[in-house]
């Protein structure tokens, strides 16, 4: 894509930090009451009312095969653009917005904490942390089950 730096929104799921390009993000809203839909796939949490519009919401924890946790004050829904439609991602919290140098983004390793490289765009080191940059389109399109590496979780 483009050169130089880009802004990334950094969010947490479990013990991992993930990044999405800010240009993909419409807005970040607080957790809202979710209406479940019958027969939907497990990770598809349901729909929410965002100022009169209905937005579909994906539970990234479930998408990554993590156990459910009680929502906290930090829980957020990141509304992103997916194939021209708004989709919300439930995340444990949004921590910061970082300027990330394109050059600092490394290619993803073959398999990262259990996530296949199909779903990764790259990783970047920020201070002590590793931020995983997700390939949202592949992640949302695929129905394949993903399991974040439990051992890795424990070690963190």
């Amino acid at each position: 894509m483009s050169e130089d730096t880009q802004q990334m929104i950094i969010f947490d799921i479990g013990n991992e930090k993930f990044g999405i390009k800010i240009t993909r993000v419409h807005e970040i809203i607080r957790m809202k009451e979710i209406t479940e839909l019958p027969d939907s796939s497990e990770y598809f949490a349901g729909i929410v009312n965002r100022r009169g519009d209905i937005v579909s919401v994906v539970d990234l924890r479930k998408r990554f095969g993590l156990e459910e946790i009680v929502e906290t004050d930090n829980t957020r829904i990141i509304i992103i653009d997916f194939q021209g439609k708004d989709v919300g991602l439930i995340v444990d919290g949004v921590s910061e917005v970082l300027h990330i140098n394109e050059a600092d983004i490394d290619d993803p390793p073959q398999s990262m904490v259990g996530i296949k490289d199909d779903y990764l765009q790259g990783i970047v080191k920020v201070d002590e942390d590793i931020v995983i940059i997700l390939d949202l389109d592949n992640l949302l399109e695929s129905k394949e089950e993903i399991e974040l590496d439990k051992e890795k979780q424990g070690n963190e």
Binding site: M1, I22, H26, E27, P38, S40, S41, D53, I54, D81
Partner: protein
């Protein structure tokens, strides 16, 4: 559900009063001598105060009260109309709006209320008190014409003045007054009321009214008869000893009385006559003269009746079919057309003029122009263009965004405009018109226009498009990049829970309304944004039901009837639960079961919605039926491909989501 209706009612009514306040203050700012506007805003604030109080919205009520006090002093000439006071009042109006729309954004209310109170130089509650007592003290006089006076003189019995004070939170004051009149009618002769009976019928009364009454009954009898009426707070009965105490109306007394000691009375009369002229001026501003105002609730109930009629018709049709009554079926055809036409006609009545949205913009433009130090002339055309009221509610925000954009980015500062040989004053034109089945809304400015080069640079910078992609784009395509997600997102996301509003949000909104937006722009000359919207939204009538704590809408068109099924009526045939009804066997379907919920619901009677799909009947068992409701269908982005059982979503009055059932899929699938 009633609570929702009520909330909505409050919301729309308070919206109306806020619009009046905004308009009146704007006019007043340009024409500080315009006392009618002061009165108009005073009344709006007063009404708001009362409404909010009844609803228990104390903050709104208090703020409105503080405004009312300032307006009262403006009205009495105790303080002058200055930019300062107008700005203060505008701030109060803004916060009143926020209190209902976005309470988180409200500024320090106590501070603001204090500021308002300080402005009146009086932080006690006196002013409203005054207002209320002034309304009451004037009521001591009735002016009678010659006929009425003769009637009083000729009728045997005593003449009494009955003063009735209703409880301040009484909602339909006029009905209580009517109940008082009814009770009195059996006890004597009603001569006159103050305020007049016509005014009372139109709810033009405060808590208090007086009746001039001829009777042979004792005070106690009268008092007993009246005290049994609910919401009557106090009753005072006074016998008129001397008929001369009653003023006698003469042609030319109005002016003289104003100078006399009955100032209060005169003032009240005065304000009353103004109230009348206000209602006229206001309604003529909003609507053309040949229209009448219909309560939305009444319209909705008409809508419901029509829907009811449609159900009944389909019931008769199905009887005709099942008994092969060809003649009846033939006769029913025209009936079916009439009901459809009737339905369309009611839908048409829901159309409201777009001025309901446009009305807010003079104020918005004024504020923006002031903030940005630009001179702006806002032209509005086609404000009488009609749209379904549900769409009207939805397009406000996008329009605000576009107007902001035109003023902020489009119109150049006055000095720059002069350099370019343009008039100092920038033009923003807002217009609406019908085009086929669409409504077109345009926002046009004579500002700097959109420069493709600038867009190109920003798009690359923001990572919306790559340089190689842009190379192949036409200028128009480049300009359209402003609708791309991420293009107009704020540079810094500071408040992570805050709103990100950009052009992409505008486009999304229009998409969700099945509309479209496009831009024409010429560098140096200006830009035109054109929005196209369907005339009506996809609205359906349905029955709102609950199944395992979730609300579902069953579309009315498939519903035959709603029955309570007793467990003993249920039979099991070939492992299927069925009921017998009017000679046919109807399979029962548990919606809990179909929708993947636990099927452990036990009730004595099971609410069951009988639907007809492809000439077969099914009984859908639900937990409960809330009632009939009209909803706007919203598409659900189908991420998980197996939600065929749900045809869409609908947002209810309380903000929760109801799912619209795809009955065909549920019964057959």
């Amino acid at each position: 559900m009633d609570m929702d209706e009520f909330q909505e009612m409050y919301a729309s009514e308070s919206r109306e009063h806020l619009d009046i306040l905004n308009d009146a203050l704007l006019t007043l700012e340009n024409d500080p001598e315009n006392m009618e506007m002061v009165n108009e805003s005073f009344r709006a604030a007063h009404t708001l105060k009362g409404m909010a109080g009844t609803m228990g919205f104390d903050q709104v009520s208090e703020l409105a009260h503080a405004m009312e006090n300032i307006l009262d002093e403006l009205r009495n000439g105790e303080i002058a109309v200055t930019t300062e006071v107008i700005n203060l009042l505008f701030r109060a109006v803004d916060n009143l709006e926020l209190l209902s729309s976005d309470p988180d954004q409200v500024e320090d209310l106590e501070g603001l209320i204090k500021e308002l109170r300080n402005y009146t130089g009086d932080d006690t509650e006196l002013s409203t008190g005054n207002q209320e007592t002034s309304a009451s003290s004037n009521n001591d006089y009735f002016s009678l014409d010659q006929d009425e006076l003769e009637m009083v003189e000729d009728t045997p019995g005593e003449t009494v003045i009955i003063k009735v004070i209703l409880e301040s939170d009484c909602v339909f004051k006029s009905l209580r007054a009517d109940m008082v009149f009814d009770a009195l009618e059996e006890l004597g002769e009603l001569i006159k009321a103050n305020p007049s009976i016509d005014d009372i019928r139109e709810e033009k009364l405060d808590e208090e009214f007086q009746v001039l009454f001829l009777t042979k009954e004792s005070k106690e009898t009268l008092s007993d008869a009246l005290s049994n009426i609910s919401e009557v707070d106090t009753i005072e009965i006074e016998v008129v000893e001397d008929l001369d105490d009653l003023s006698i109306q003469q042609e030319s007394t109005g002016a003289e009385q104003e100078d006399e000691s009955t100032i209060d009375g005169a003032k009240d009369k005065d304000s009353k006559s103004k109230k009348k002229s206000k209602t006229q001026s206001l309604s003529s501003r909003l609507r053309s003269s040949s229209t009448i105002k219909v309560d939305v609730d009444r319209l909705d109930s008409l809508m419901n009746l029509v829907a009811e009629l449609v159900i009944k018709r389909t019931q008769v049709e199905s009887v005709a079919r099942s008994y092969d009554l060809d003649d009846l079926e033939k006769k029913l055809k025209p009936l079916s057309k009439v009901t459809t036409d009737l339905q369309d006609a009611v839908m048409e009545m829901r159309m409201v003029p777009i001025s309901m949205v446009f009305n807010r913009f003079p104020r918005l433009v004024r504020d923006l122009a002031q903030d940005l130090e630009k001179d702006i002339n806002l032209k509005i055309e086609g404000e009488e263009t009609e749209l379904d009221r549900t769409i009207i509610d939805e397009i406000g925000d996008p329009l605000v965004h576009l107007i902001r954009n035109s003023i902020d980015h489009g119109i150049e500062p006055p000095a720059e405009r002069e350099e370019k040989d343009k008039p100092r004053e920038g033009l923003v034109k807002l217009s609406a018109f019908h085009e086929g089945n669409n409504v077109v809304i345009q926002i046009e400015d004579d500002g700097a226009g959109i420069d493709p080069d600038v867009i190109e640079e920003k798009a690359i910078d923001k990572g919306v498009a790559s340089p190689s992609e842009i190379e192949n784009m036409s200028d128009q395509e480049i300009i359209n990049l402003i609708f791309a997600p991420g293009f107009s997102t704020n540079e810094e996301v500071s408040d992570v829970s805050g709103r990100g509003v950009g052009m992409d949000v505008v486009k999304n909104k229009l998409d969700s309304l099945n509309g479209s937006i496009d831009i024409k722009s010429e560098v140096g000359k200006g830009s035109t944004f054109t929005m196209k919207l369907p005339l009506t939204l996809s609205i359906i009538q349905g029955f709102l039901t609950t199944v395992a704590d979730q609300k579902y809408v069953i579309p009315l068109e498939s519903i035959q009837e709603i029955v309570d099924v007793q467990p003993e009526d249920i039979q099991t045939i070939r492992q299927e639960q069925v009921i017998h009804r009017r000679g046919s066997v109807i399979p029962l379907i548990s919606l809990r079961n179909k929708l993947g919920k636990e099927d452990d619901f036990e009730e004595e009677e099971i609410s069951t919605v009988i639907v007809e799909i492809a000439n077969d009947y099914y009984g859908l068992m639900v937990d409960s039926i809330i009632g009939q409701q009209e909803v706007v269908i919203k598409r659900i982005n189908d991420l998980s491909e197996n939600i065929e059982k749900i045809a869409g979503g609908a947002i209810l009055g309380d903000g929760s989501i109801a799912l619209i059932l795809n009955v065909e899929e549920i019964t057959i699938g």
